[in-house]
Symmetry: C2
Subunit: 493 residues, 2 copies
């Protein structure tokens, strides 16, 4: 009886969030722009109702008294209890202050970035860090306040673990960056900006997302938006977006990245439909799927051996005079740069490590907000040998801090690490391995569905990693992968 | 204080309905088809929450105790009280029975129409009529149970009024139909199916909807769907849909029809944003706007004198060898036919009168459901000289009865009548009249915004008609319009 009531209540919350998600998707893709003001109010109403229903005392009573009959219900109650505890630990007054401060900080950040002026954003960041510390205290933690914040994105992960893994990763890949830079690069990368009509870019990216990665039109669709994203309103209703620019790899690899997120959500067992279990285990595990499709597969030699002819058909101007190998090398350019979202596989993680280290220092108080730009620039120089010309291409480049998302950045790199660890575990199966060598990913997709996707949030990231790969998360596979791939491309051995 | 609480509550209801509306729009336009099952559950949740919040006893307490400070608030309380009373008169058990029976009747109708077999639908229609009688009793009425039902679509309108107006209309336009049919028609209508590429149809229809009728992309958009419709989620977020077929006028006039609905919603005063006042006064008044754009303007000679050159540019194959006058005559073909939604301006209302008369007879019990097909066919023959070959193109053609929508059909003809009455009132203003003669509708749109649109539901249809046209609704203007227009086209004088 109370299980039915609980499921009904969780179903309502799920439906309200789906509606809010659709409103958000629509806002980014199709909505007439004058509609923005009222749309904001409507979305706030839906979010508020979902929150009210979920955090209502009656939910607590149901969660307390309910009897789980099987593993599916056990997972449901476990995850819902966890969410309920987290959601009810923050007093309404604090949540309202947080929401208000985020809005103010976000507007200040937009302006600050436009004028490349950190000073106007600084007081807001100070406020966000203060709220983050108070939030961590309210949520509670054992080792470090950072753990309480990161827990929202990467359940169970601790700053101490991230610190250890990142230190290992840094020490073992910084020399690789240096060797690549020192080697020089005479490749002609102009192919990456050859004319590729917008509709053809989108169509090619979407067709390959279906053929290679299994994302089919009867349960998914592709649209355009300013910033690519994935969202979904059920496992049969997945939406990915892309954008088209002269640098055409942005559309292709971006689409396959979002396809990785979408296929994860697609694979979660139907048994948890309309419940809080029905999502990826964490942002890190999610990113492992998107980066696997985007980089480990999409930027692999077998992939381009297979798909080069289709690209040649879709965009003859792009491929004129080239072969699969040239293209493979062009899309794997390593080039230390200022902007995280444009970074390659080798340098990307340094952008993340830098942010993680600065977040920790700010939270601990060992770094003052006013000293942040200097600390940022110093580290950029240390890691990538670059100095931002201004704050806009330095410390102000990301939206996250303005939205109060402290503890979020590490998930990008955790996802990169896990992507290789998972792919290698999958390739223990010789059918999967043979498929990957021929860019035939059906067996791999089945393996991922079985070992990663179906579990949704019923396993923690740590449990999932252990179960799927037989070991805890480690930098080893990723470090070895980078060396293998880029020593060959840059002829370093 | 309680006014703020009331507005907050009505705002929540409005936001939930907007979300449900967006889910519905998305379902008809963009949604991957496998998503249908869960989407149905999600929409039911939103509808249920909106209904629960609105009919909660607390809403009644607020409506009882609230003090309106000005005319805007007075209208708000009046309309909300009216809705609340209507919504709370039906017991939950009855609403559930109605919903269940509608679903069953709808599925039975789909099957019955497919096999053109009225017999399989008959028991469901009997049930729907029984429920309609009980619903009328629960809602209450003074003269006729039909009034209680029609009140949902045309507030305040009575069957006795409709009967009188329709009798007048029938007596005065049936001879016109006969004269047109007897006159014969040697026109070549093949132009209406000349090749007109799908994208060009949509683009032309949409561009004219903007240029002629004011529907602009910053607050509206156009999509494709199987059945054209208009919906909106605020006055700054209007969505119309169209469909493309070989008979290209369907796309053009359908688009301008929906543009009429959209511009009505656009024009409702912002003062009632997110309240139940913020919609058209009734389906009839709504239809007056859509039919005005579609027929009175879109099928007028000045319109085609102005837009023929643009059509020639958009679709040279369609206009080859033609001029504006030929096109004007082609799109005004009068042709008695079996199907309501394909009917012309002259015969359309006979389809509606037939349904109204049969609904009344069924509700009163003077006609048995089993005798309905025969009664339908007899009347089709009397009015339009046609006999349906089967039930699918006869009594089973419309979805309305299967959905329990009794009392809905008259609004189509009431809208037609009102469209001419309003346009003539508007043209008392010589600037409006001069504009209409040049297919320059800016002044007319301003007149409509001022005299019709802005009021939303704050005036009843009767009040609005009187205020805007100086007289009660009458068949006179429409009858005179038909004679004027079609005597000239068919050279009947």
């Amino acid at each position: 009886m109370s299980m039915e009531q609980l499921k009904r209540r969780l179903g309502q919350v799920s439906d309200l969030r789906a509606a809010e998600g659709l409103m958000s998707w629509d806002q980014e893709t199709h909505m007439p722009h004058e509609a923005a003001r009222v749309r904001g109010i409507q979305m706030a109403t839906l979010a508020g109702l979902a929150h009210d229903i979920f955090t209502d005392a009656q939910t607590g009573v149901l969660l307390e008294g309910v009897q789980a009959q099987d593993e599916v219900e056990q997972a449901l109650v476990r995850v819902a209890r966890r969410d309920y505890e987290r959601a009810t630990k923050l007093p309404t007054a604090f949540v309202e202050e947080l929401t208000r401060s985020r809005n103010e900080a976000h507007h200040a950040w937009v302006e600050a970035r436009r004028h490349s002026s950190f000073a106007t954003f600084a007081p807001h960041l100070t406020k966000m860090m203060d709220l983050a510390r108070r939030q961590a205290d309210l949520l509670g933690f054992e080792e470090h306040p950072y753990d309480a914040l990161m827990d929202a994105y990467e359940p169970g992960m601790r700053a101490s673990q991230v610190r250890a893994v990142f230190a290992d990763l840094r020490d073992r890949t910084l020399p690789l960056v240096r060797r690549i830079v020192d080697a020089g690069d005479a490749t002609d990368y102009s192919v990456l900006e050859r004319p590729f009509p917008a509709e053809a870019q989108k169509a090619f990216a979407w067709r390959v997302a279906g053929e290679a990665f299994g994302l089919q039109p009867h349960f998914a669709r592709q649209d355009e938006s300013a910033h690519p994203f994935q969202t979904n309103f059920s496992r049969s209703d997945l939406r990915i977006t892309t954008r088209v620019e002269p640098y055409w790899p942005a559309c292709l690899f971006g689409t396959w990245h979002e396809a990785g997120h979408a296929m994860y959500e697609r694979g979660v067992s139907e048994r948890w439909e309309r419940t809080p279990v029905s999502r990826g285990a964490s942002l890190g595990v999610h990113e492992s799927q998107s980066r696997m499709f985007e980089n480990l597969l999409g930027r692999s030699r077998p992939f381009w051996n297979r798909y080069f002819p289709q690209l040649a058909q879709a965009a003859p101007e792009v491929t004129a005079g080239l072969d699969a190998e040239t293209l493979y090398r062009a899309v794997n350019r390593v080039n230390p740069s200022m902007i995280r979202v444009e970074a390659d596989e080798v340098t990307y993680n340094f952008h993340v490590m830098l942010r993680f280290e600065l977040e920790l220092a700010l939270l601990e108080g060992s770094l003052q907000v006013s000293d942040l730009p200097e600390a940022w620039n110093a580290r950029m120089n240390e890691y990538l040998g670059l100095t931002p010309r201004n704050d806009a291409e330095g410390v102000l480049q990301d939206v996250h801090w303005s939205a109060g998302l402290i503890g979020y950045f590490p998930t990008y790199t955790l996802g990169n690490l896990l992507s290789v660890q998972l792919l290698e575990a999958a390739q223990q199966d010789i059918v999967v391995a043979a498929g990957v060598q021929q860019a035939e990913y059906g067996p791999l997709l089945s393996w991922l569905a079985e070992n990663v996707h179906q579990h949704g949030r019923s396993l923690t990231p740590e449990e999932l990693t252990l179960k799927a790969t037989g070991r805890a998360l480690s930098a080893d596979p990723y470090v070895a992968y980078l060396h293998r791939k880029y020593e060959e491309i840059y002829n370093l051995s």
